[in-house]
C-alpha cells in the first residue's frame, strides 16, 4: 500500500478538503491515519460536547482552523435557559497550553467571555480569522483585545451576537501598522463607534473587501468610507438616513458609483426611502441583497429596487414586500437560488403580508430556487404541490406559517399532501421545517421519500408515536431532529435507540416523553448524553419516572457527561 513516501501522501491529502473525505482517508490503514492526523488543519465540531478539547488536540495536533457549535438550535427561540453551557474558554485554554497554531476560529451559539477573547488574542500569533455567529457573553472589551493583539488579523465577523457595548474604543485598538483587514463586520453592535478611527482603519486596509457597519455609523461617514474603499465587494450600511436634496447625498451617489465591485449589499438598519435611488447603480451586479432589517422600506420602494437586480442569487427581505412584490422578484431575478422572507410583525398572526401566492409566483419565475425560509400568513396544499412541480432542486425548505396549526384555508385540510409533494419532488432535500396543521401522514411521506434529509424541525404536528417513528425509520441520513409540542412519547423514543448514535442530536420539548424513558435510554446507551432541562422547582428526586419531562436534549459523545452543566440541567 505504501509505495510513496509520507510526504507524497501528505501532498495528495492536501487536495482532499471535505471533512467527510478526510475522515474516510483516516480509516484506510494505520499509516494513512497517521499521515492524515498530522496534516489535518481544519476541523469541524458540530456539537462542542461530543468531544473534549484535550482529545481534539491529541487527535489533530496540527490544527489551524476550528469550527465549534454550542447550544441546540432552539436556543435561538428562547427555549434554552441562559447558562445552559457552550463555553469557549476551556477550548482556548487547552489550545493555548498545547501551543496549537490556531489561525481561524468559527463559533456558533457559544458563550464567549472577554477572558477567552483576551487569551485567544495573546496565545496564537498567527491568528487571522474570527467568526462569531449568534454568540453571547462578551463585551467590546474582548473585541478591543482581539484588535490590539492579533497582528495578522484578516477577518472579524460578528453576526447577530449579543454584545455588551462599552462604547466605541475597541476600534481604536487596531494598531496603526495593522493593514491586513479583509473583512470587518460589526453590524450587530448597538453602541457608538469612534468614527474617526473607523475611517483611518478603512483607509489603511487596502485589502478590505467586506465592510458591514452598525447603526451608529451615519450617512456622511458612509460616504467617506466608500471613497476610501472603492474596492469593496460586500457592503453593509449603517444608518441610511439623510436629506436626498443635500450635498452629502450627492457625494454619496458619486462615491457609490466608483464602487464597481459591490456584489453584496445589506444593512439599512435605519433608512430614508427617498435615498435608496443612490444604490440603484450597484443593483445590476448584486448577487446578494439583505433588506431584512430595513423596516423603513415599504413594498413600493422594495420592488423599485429589486427591479434593477437582475443577477440576484440570494434575497433576504421582510414580508412587507407582499405577494405582489414577490411577483416582481419572480419576473426580475431569474438567477435566484435562495429566498428568505422574514415577518415584520411576528406576533400578529393574522396580518402577515405574504401568503401562498407570493411563494407560487417565485417558484414559477425562479427555476433555480434551492433554499427557502418563508414566514407567511397561510399556505395551501395546492400551492405547495405547484411549488414542488416548479422547483425540484430544493436543498433547504423551511416554511413557517405564523399560526402554527393553521390548516389549508381553502380546503380546511391539513398540509400533509403539500409537504408530501415537496419531499417526493425534491430528492436532494437536506433540511426541512414544517408548520401548519399536520397529521402523522406527513411523517409517513417524509420517511418514505426524504432520503437525503439531514435536519428536520417539527412543531405542533402529528397525532401519535407513529409520526416520529416514520421519520426515525425512514430518514437514513438524519443528523438533527428537533421537536416541540408534538404528541410523541416513550414508545417512539425507545423503539430504536441505536439510531441516535448515527445522529448528532435530538431535541424534544413539550412532548409526551417521561422521565423514566429518558433514564432507560441513558442507561442503555452510554455513548449518548441524555440531558433534561428542568426549570421548575422540582429536583430529580421529586420527579417521578412517569412524569413528563418538559425539555430533553440528547446527543452522541465520546467523552461522557459534561462537567459544566448548571443546576437545572440533569445528566441522566
Amino acid at each position: 500500500m505504501n509505495y510513496f513516501p509520507d510526504e507524497v501522501l501528505e501532498h495528495v491529502f492536501d487536495f482532499i478538503t471535505s471533512h467527510k473525505d478526510r475522515n474516510s482517508v483516516s480509516l484506510v490503514c494505520k499509516s494513512w491515519y497517521k499521515i492524515e492526523k498530522y496534516s489535518r488543519q481544519r476541523v469541524f465540531i458540530g456539537n462542542c460536547y461530543s468531544i473534549s478539547p484535550e482529545r481534539l488536540i491529541a487527535r489533530f495536533p496540527g490544527l489551524k482552523s476550528l469550527t465549534l457549535k454550542g447550544k441546540p438550535h432552539f436556543a435561538d427561540f428562547n427555549l434554552v435557559p441562559d447558562d445552559w453551557g457552550g463555553f469557549l474558554y476551556p477550548w482556548i485554554k487547552a489550545m493555548a497550553r498545547s501551543r496549537i497554531g490556531l489561525e481561524e476560529l468559527r463559533l456558533k451559539r457559544m458563550v464567549v467571555s472577554d477572558e477567552s477573547l483576551e487569551l485567544l488574542s495573546k496565545s496564537f500569533p498567527n491568528f487571522k480569522s474570527l467568526v462569531l455567529v449568534s454568540c453571547e457573553g462578551f463585551t467590546t472589551d474582548g473585541l478591543a483585545a482581539v484588535a490590539a493583539n492579533c497582528r495578522l488579523l484578516r477577518e472579524l465577523d460578528l453576526q447577530e451576537n449579543e454584545v455588551e457595548d462599552h462604547r466605541g474604543h475597541w476600534l481604536s485598538c487596531f494598531p496603526e501598522n495593522c493593514t491586513s483587514l479583509v473583512l470587518l463586520n460589526f453590524a450587530c453592535l448597538k453602541g457608538e463607534i469612534n468614527l474617526a478611527s473607523l475611517e483611518r482603519l478603512v483607509a489603511r486596509s487596502p485589502n478590505l473587501k467586506s465592510l458591514r457597519l452598525n447603526r451608529a455609523v451615519p450617512f456622511d461617514t458612509l460616504q467617506r468610507l466608500l471613497m476610501r474603499a472603492p474596492q469593496l465587494v460586500d457592503l453593509g450600511t449603517g444608518s441610511y438616513v439623510h436629506d436626498p436634496y443635500s450635498e452629502a447625498y450627492n457625494k454619496l451617489k458619486a462615491a457609490i458609483q466608483s464602487c464597481n465591485s459591490i456584489r453584496s449589499l445589506s444593512g439599512f438598519l435605519e433608512v430614508a426611502p427617498r435615498c435608496m435611488s443612490a444604490v440603484y447603480p450597484v443593483c445590476e451586479n448584486l448577487t446578494f441583497l439583505n433588506l431584512s432589517y430595513a423596516a423603513g422600506l415599504q413594498s413600493i420602494e422594495l420592488t423599485k429596487l429589486i427591479q434593477y437586480c437582475r443577477k440576484l442569487q440570494r434575497l433576504w427581505i421582510l414580508d412587507c414586500i407582499g405577494d405582489k412584490g414577490l411577483g416582481v422578484v419572480a419576473s426580475t431575478c431569474k438567477e435566484l437560488q435562495e429566498l428568505r422572507v422574514f415577518p415584520s410583525d411576528p406576533f400578529d398572526a393574522g396580518n402577515a403580508a405574504v401568503t401562498e401566492e407570493g411563494l407560487v409566483l417565485v417558484s414559477a419565475g425562479c427555476p433555480k430556487l434551492n433554499s427557502l425560509l418563508y414566514f407567511c400568513q397561510q399556505m395551501t396544499n395546492a400551492a405547495l404541490i405547484t411549488v414542488a412541480k416548479n422547483c425540484t432542486n430544493f436543498i433547504r425548505f423551511r416554511l413557517c406559517i405564523l399560526d402554527p396549526i393553521k390548516p389549508d384555508p381553502v380546503t380546511n385540510q391539513p398540509l400533509d399532501e403539500g409537504f408530501g409533494a415537496i419531499v417526493r419532488s425534491c430528492k436532494g432535500l437536506k433540511r426541512l421545517s414544517l408548520s401548519g396543521l399536520l397529521t402523522d401522514q406527513v411523517f409517513y411521506y417524509i420517511g418514505m421519500h426524504a432520503k437525503q434529509l439531514e435536519m428536520l424541525s417539527i412543531a405542533f404536528a402529528g397525532d401519535s408515536d407513529k409520526g416520529m417513528l416514520y421519520v426515525l425509520n425512514g430518514c437514513k441520513k438524519l443528523r438533527k431532529l428537533e421537536i416541540r409540542d408534538c404528541p410523541f412519547g416513550d414508545a417512539a423514543l425507545l423503539e430504536d435507540m441505536g439510531k441516535y448514535e448515527t445522529m448528532r442530536s435530538l431535541w424534544m420539548s413539550s412532548c409526551e416523553v417521561t422521565l423514566g424513558a429518558c433514564k432507560t435510554l441513558a442507561k442503555k446507551m452510554p455513548s449518548l448524553n441524555v440531558e433534561i432541562i428542568n426549570e421548575s422547582e422540582q429536583t430529580e428526586f421529586n420527579l417521578e419516572d412517569r412524569q413528563k419531562v418538559d425539555k430533553m436534549y440528547l446527543y452522541r459523545t465520546v467523552v461522557g457527561h459534561r462537567k459544566d452543566a448548571p443546576e437545572f440541567v440533569w445528566l441522566l
Binding site: A272, F347, D348, D403, T439, C511
Partner: protein, 210 residues
C-alpha cells in the same frame, strides 16, 4: 378565560379598545390596534390566540378543526401550558427586525385642558404628524381662539416643539424623521410668542426630511 399573569387575552383586548377610544388612534385604515402599554400585539383575526385557546382547553373553535385534531391537540398539551407560546414564531432577533414597539408620546397644547397621545411609529413624515395634530386640536383651538380656525398648527400661532432624552426643548423638523422618532419624548404646541430661545426654522411645508 381569565387573564393569567397579566398576559393579554381576548377579553382584555376588548377593554383595550374602550381605552383606545379616548386615545389618539390615527393609524392607517385597517391596521391592527396596538395595545396602549406597547405589549405584544393580538391581531384582530386571532389566528395566534386560537392556539392559545386550544392549549387552554377552550373548544369554541372546534368546528374549524376536525374533532380528532382537537383531541390530538388536547393530548399534546403538556400540563401547565402557558398562556403564550414561547419561542413561536421561530424568528431569531425578532425584536430587532420589523416595526419597533409603538412609540407613544404625550402631546400638550398650550392652554388645552387635556393631553393627547400620539404613536410616532404611525407616521413616516413630519407632514403626516403635523396634519394629524392639526386635526386633533383644531376643534379645541377654534374654541379657544374665538372661532378662529388655524391653518397651520405651527404656523403663525403655534410652534411645535419636542422634548428629547436630555430634557431639552427644540423646534420640530430639524433632524431626519427617524432620528426625531427615536429621540422625541414629548411634544408641545406652544404659542409662538413663547417660543423664545428656540432656533428659527422653515415652515413645515418646506420640510427637507423624508
Amino acid at each position: 378565560m381569565s387573564s393569567e399573569n397579566g398576559k393579554r387575552l381576548p377579553e382584555t383586548d376588548a377593554d383595550g379598545l374602550n381605552f383606545e377610544a379616548t386615545e389618539l388612534t390615527l393609524g392607517l385604515p385597517g391596521k391592527s390596534r396596538v395595545t396602549p402599554d406597547g405589549g405584544a400585539k393580538l391581531g384582530s383575526k386571532r389566528g395566534f390566540s386560537e392556539t392559545v385557546d386550544l392549549r387552554l382547553g377552550d373548544n369554541k373553535d372546534a368546528n374549524k378543526l376536525g374533532q380528532s385534531q382537537i383531541d390530538a391537540r388536547e393530548a399534546a398539551k403538556s400540563p401547565g401550558s402557558k398562556a403564550q407560546v414561547v419561542g413561536w414564531p421561530p424568528v431569531r432577533g425578532y425584536a430587532k427586525r420589523g416595526k419597533k414597539s409603538c412609540k407613544y408620546v404625550k402631546v400638550a397644547v398650550d392652554g388645552a385642558p387635556y393631553l393627547r397621545k400620539v404613536d410616532l411609529e404611525m407616521y413616516n413624515t413630519y407632514q403626516q404628524l403635523l396634519t394629524s395634530l392639526q386635526d386633533m386640536f383644531s376643534r379645541f383651538t377654534r374654541n379657544f381662539l374665538n372661532e378662529k380656525r388655524i391653518e397651520q398648527v405651527n404656523g403663525i400661532e403655534y410652534a411645535t416643539t419636542c422634548e428629547d432624552k436630555d430634557g431639552d426643548w427644540m423646534l420640530v423638523g430639524d433632524v431626519p424623521w427617524q432620528m426625531f422618532v427615536e429621540s422625541c419624548k414629548r411634544i408641545r404646541l406652544m404659542k409662538s410668542t413663547e417660543a423664545v430661545g428656540l432656533a428659527p426654522r422653515t415652515p413645515p411645508k418646506c420640510s427637507r426630511t423624508s
